[in-house]
Symmetry: C2
Subunit: 126 residues, 2 copies
DNA sequence: CCACTATACTTGACATTCCAAAGTGCTTCA
DNA sequence: TGAAGCACTTTGGAATGTCAAGTATAGTGG
């Protein structure tokens, strides 16, 4: 049940964090292993560095991501998930299951090529 | 594993949809049962009508939400989840588990009042 | 019967957020 | 020697989200 206004609701807070643009993508990438900034940027796909830096800062503050600066000049940094971050695996997995079951590409998906059979009630993207 | 660029990745698409502002909140509200527009707006909490209308349109197109207009004037509408929408319960549940385990309110959370014990690696909001 | 609330939105002006592009100083590889 | 990679930051414009007000009609309380 959703708590009434003015009560603290963990789920509400979690959604606030996870719905920020790129956050889920970032977590998903980091679940595959620690990465540097540019590497992460590529594997996330399409996030500009300004936004990415801001998201990473936030995720550090929150305690989901750990940032390890190996050298400042030349710059070399590693971003990794904290234990709390790793626990988001279940969320990503749930999304994965839902997506593969119900998501179909529309006429012009952002990342073309598709395969697999579609179940009843499949969903089309636009 | 995250597919390489230019391949269709259902998870990527799902994240794109779910990360849109208010979408997860909307789904969460509708999981509790069908609602009218204003009612939904209240239970979502803080989403303005313009954005809400747009999100609902999108979710309809995608096939996650069903809109039933009962009367146009005076206006009376019901929004409900489709079967595909209901399957998002698992995603919300996963977020719920993570949130209650790892999310702590910071010094000034948006919805105050908190309770429960905090595990190792708990996360603080800002 | 009259004021008041509620419904589902839309509109237009404003605020916030996001993005693409370019640049930084230094190292490594060709 | 020169090009590319690293981790970002800065900048101005573009997209996105928000706020307030307004619409036509029915139901409710006094």
């Amino acid at each position: 049940m959703i708590p009434v206004e003015h009560e603290f609701c963990p789920v509400h807070e979690a959604i606030q964090v996870l719905q920020e643009k790129w956050v889920l993508h970032i977590v998903r990438s980091l679940l595959e292993g620690p990465r540097g900034f540019n590497d992460l940027s590529r594997s996330v796909g399409g996030c500009n560095p300004a936004t990415l830096a801001q998201r990473l800062d936030r995720l550090c503050d929150i305690g989901v991501v750990h940032k390890e600066v190996q050298s400042v000049m030349p710059p070399r940094t590693l971003y990794d998930l904290t234990p709390a971050g790793h626990e988001l695996q279940d969320v990503i997995t749930a999304i994965d299951h839902w997506a593969t079951a119900y998501l179909r590409p529309g006429r012009e998906p952002s990342h073309p090529v598709c395969q697999g059979a579609l179940p009843d009630g499949a969903v089309r993207l636009t």
